[in-house]
Symmetry: C2
Subunit: 342 residues, 2 copies
């Protein structure tokens, strides 16, 4: 037997399609209990489920949002996507996933195909954005939320989620200070990345507020990878008057530093305190488990969807006023930090 349509339900219940449609959509102008029940029974009997495609064609809404990420294989983005999907489903939206794969053209193609599919909105959770993308989206009147990474937002109507690194890094500094440290190092990611500079500046800025000038802090530029952390760690440990605490730009660097310390026969946190940033799963598994500034990846995705839903649900009047919000970072204290040896 063919899949039942709204018409079949109407016939079975002895009412019109409109009436069925109304009970389907929980219409305000209320239906007599009696007929509502008839209709519901017919729906149940036939196992009727409305065809979303047809529904979208008339209603102009697809209950669908597109999520563009640089690359789902990157654990950062996969956590973001997880947050997106959870909240979306919860609000009965479905999500189209697109990997930009760090390719501007592919991003454009993806955006076009999502527009053709009439997604209600698009989330661009990527390390880079392109003005062309935003133009295309704007031209088609698609609401968009971007991850405010190192993105120069030139358009006025773009909503964004941004990350407050300062708050968590500030906690890290206070933690270290309260432990009694006063000689610090920072191992940063590539300085050409805005996020590397943000993390470094937050660290140096916070120390400065506590009377420790940037010049007194050893800064080593590295590559955000374990091997880079290992090298930087060795450098630090070979210093004449070496720092007692080091803040790494991410957890991989921190892990590399831990590994370097093992190699050099230094103990963490006994001889050296180490703090990372991200709170990737590995952070809890290292030896010792890493004290780190957690970056709320899942939350970023969740908030992005919530922002989108707000955008989608608000009255025309307030349209075009972008929503901007911020997620906080916070320090997670594990075992890689302790008071310095005297």
């Amino acid at each position: 037997m063919p899949i039942p349509t709204i018409e079949d339900v109407a016939n079975a219940a002895g009412v019109s399609k409109s009436t069925v449609s109304r009970v389907l959509n929980g219409e305000y102008t209320y239906i007599r209990d009696n007929t509502r029940i008839k209709v519901q029974k017919a729906i149940a009997d036939l196992g009727f489920r409305p065809n979303s495609v047809a529904r979208s064609l008339t209603s102009k809404r697809t209950q669908t949002i597109g999520v563009l990420v640089s690359d789902v294989s990157n654990p950062f983005y996969s956590d973001v996507v997880h947050g997106v999907e959870d909240i979306a489903i919860d609000q009965s939206y479905n999500v189209f996933l697109g990997n930009i794969n760090y390719d501007q053209q592919r991003g454009m193609a993806l955006i076009r195909s999502l527009i053709d599919r009439r997604v209600d909105g698009i989330l661009i959770m990527s390390s880079t954005t392109s003005d062309e993308w935003l133009d295309e989206l704007d031209r088609n009147n698609i609401p968009v939320v971007v991850l405010d990474w190192d993105i120069p937002i030139t358009k006025g109507t773009i909503s964004a989620i941004s990350v407050d690194f300062e708050i968590g890094i500030h906690q890290a500094v206070e933690h270290l200070l309260s432990l009694g440290h006063h000689k610090f190092a920072h191992v940063s990611g590539p300085q050409r990345l805005q996020t590397s500079r943000d993390r470094m500046n937050a660290f140096l800025g916070s120390l400065a507020k506590h009377g420790i000038p940037a010049e007194e802090v050893t800064v080593i530029e590295s590559n955000f990878r374990i091997d880079g952390g290992r090298e930087a760690g060795i450098q630090i440990m070979e210093m004449a008057n070496r720092p007692t605490a080091v803040f790494a730009g991410n957890d991989l660097l921190a892990h590399g530093i831990l590994s370097a310390a093992h190699m050099q026969g230094l103990s963490v946190p006994g001889d050296l305190s180490v703090i990372g940033l991200d709170d990737i799963w590995l952070a809890a598994e290292t030896d010792p488990p890493l004290t780190t500034v957690a970056l709320p990846r899942y939350e970023i995705g969740a908030l992005a969807v919530r922002t989108m839903l707000e955008l989608l649900n608000r009255p025309k009047a307030e349209e075009s006023e972008p929503i901007r919000s911020t997620v906080k970072t916070n320090l997670i204290i594990r075992k890689s930090t302790a008071p310095p040896k005297m």
Copy 2:
């Protein structure tokens, strides 16, 4: 100005909608070059793009596939999803992503909503499947490809991708043997998981083929995590007549063993050779970098889509004959294996 429709194009080109539709779809019954060009010009002038929703309503195809995974945050699945998305886009399909979150009910809800959206097919890339899901899919005539994990497939018409662990593990055994090892250990994941048993059996089976009976192999059951590997590693290194080579059920366990060796002052691969399984990114970053049996996660996703497309494109005649295929594992030799000390 409103978004142009096929009718606008028809008017602009002075032809009928049917004709426009034909050039849009590259119809066989060919159009006069002249009119085709007129139409194409009108399309370009208006910047017309066909509305996929409308198109799907009539054509009964959405050019969309749904991918259900246990959890995208799990690096295994995010790689699979990456493979899925790449191939899908390449074939101009879009993909709906759904996280089952290890929740049978949620899976059912997802499947229902994907059916309502008339996806052309569904990929279930999850550690578990439910007969109810498959029933629902079957009832709605939706083609499905499952990841043949530890899934008891009771239905006859399900296509599946499976993983050949034996081939890669066999290579690992031969590698170890050729290096001169003859005393082995295996650290396995939880034995209640089919995949743990598969990996162990492949290892023991391969050794047996080479004349080394299972009884001579030390097997420790653990938990697929770094800490589990650390504990198991310590156990192994404290053994009186300790093995010279250990095969770990996954890379995390192997990493833990490496870490245990460091702690015990043993050198890898000097004192102990270690082989992992998975080839997660961490495997290349450990110290030493890990020799491991690579599990082709991306390939699994890619193959799943290809299988689906084959299912979707074949003539009705051959319908209901499931396609089953296999991806191979293979050994990647890095620095954690070497000849045993005499």
